[in-house]
């Protein structure tokens, strides 16, 4: 098993100037591990991170878009695997932290826990590249290659919680945070970033 924050640190080492879309506990960890105005916190409508990522990837094809999804979140929008594969954005990197539960909502188990294959679903949906990791060292070696592939790429990580991050809901829900993200995107589009 991979500690979520440790796995995230490996992605952060290689994110470069990528946009990162994150959900709930991943969002809190992302803010601690890799703070950036190009972090997009997908909150308020659970399950839609992959779709936010698709919109951003289509709209800004020159920029890598990394989605840090949860397994419970993805189950709420599993059709997005098909939509993403159908659009096939070359710049979309979809990571799923697979902890088998709705951690942000009391850690109840997800349906199909232990039997469901997220990698299998992504492969069947038509993602170009699909990876599955449960070991940090092996993941750390592969991250640079994963992020150099032409997307859409799907990677599922078997995770457990790591060091707790501050649960700053005011920040991730705040209009100022979204404004900062929009300003960062506007700067990219204006050629200033």
């Amino acid at each position: 098993m991979i500690r979520r924050d440790e796995g995230l640190k490996e992605i952060a080492k290689h994110r470069g100037d990528a946009i990162v879309v994150a959900v709930y506990n991943s969002a809190f960890d992302l803010r601690r591990v890799s703070p950036s105005p190009l972090n997009y916190y997908s909150v308020g409508a659970m399950g839609l991170a992959s779709s936010h990522g698709l919109g951003l990837a289509l709209g800004l094809p020159s920029r890598k878009v990394i989605v840090l999804d949860g397994d419970g979140s993805l189950l709420m929008n599993v059709g997005s695997l098909v939509t993403i594969a159908s659009q096939a954005p070359r710049n979309l990197y979809h990571f799923v932290g697979e902890n088998g539960c709705y951690e942000a909502n009391g850690s109840h188990p997800i349906p199909g826990r232990g039997r469901l294959s997220f990698a299998g679903m992504a492969r069947a949906a038509g993602y170009l590249h699909v990876f599955e990791f449960d070991d940090l060292d092996r993941f750390a070696i592969e991250v640079p290659r994963i992020l150099s592939l032409s997307g859409p790429v799907f990677t599922t990580l078997k995770i457990v919680p790591g060091e707790p991050s501050p649960l700053d809901y005011e920040f991730i829900h705040g209009p100022g945070t979204r404004q900062d993200f929009k300003a960062a995107i506007a700067a990219i589009l204006a050629g200033k970033a």
Partner: protein, 171 residues
């Protein structure tokens, strides 16, 4: 006034172009299928994103709006109702210009949406008003002219828009 022959899809498509819509993000709706979605699927001026479910379309349109691309979310009212939380969070709370073109399946001709016998149709405008979403109904050709300025208004104010399509659209 209601157009007895049905709405002309070409006029709605032209209105979307005048509104500088670049992406159409859609799940088929029989109200707009033949007259709008099929022609758009063959129109090189639009990029079409076909959806599995309407709420993912709300988020896709959000990503496109933030990256300064104009999009129309073409759905049926049942999909709107199914996507209410996504619309509440992403369009209303995030204050993004999510422009929805929503077919009112089985709305009776000559009848205002809120006077429809169809419960789902009847509650559409009150819901939109409760959510503070700019809206109007296209029930005849003369209503289509309102679409481009409504799209402009949505992007100018970064607020959502719902254009209700009140009768079946012909090619």
């Amino acid at each position: 006034m209601v157009d007895e022959l049905g709405l002309a899809g070409g006029e709605i498509i032209a209105a979307l172009k005048r509104g500088r819509i670049e992406y159409v993000v859609a799940l088929p709706d029989i109200t707009t299928s033949a007259g709008v979605l099929w022609p758009i699927s063959r129109d090189q001026d639009f990029k079409l994103v076909r959806l599995c479910k309407e709420d993912e379309g709300v988020a896709i349109c959000a990503g496109l709006a933030i990256t300064q691309h104009r999009a129309a979310l073409l759905i049926q009212y049942t999909g709107f109702l199914d996507s209410l939380n996504a619309i509440r969070a992403i369009a209303c709370d995030y204050a993004l210009p999510i422009c929805m073109v929503i077919g009112l399946l089985e709305k009776e001709p000559h009848v205002k949406p809120r006077e429809s016998k169809r419960f789902g149709v009847r509650i559409m405008e009150p819901i939109l008003e409760t959510m503070g979403i700019d809206h109007f109904c296209i029930d005849g050709s003369q209503d289509i002219a309102a679409l481009p300025p409504a799209i402009e208004r949505a992007y100018e104010n970064s607020r959502p828009l719902a254009a209700l399509v009140g009768q079946r659209v012909r090619p």
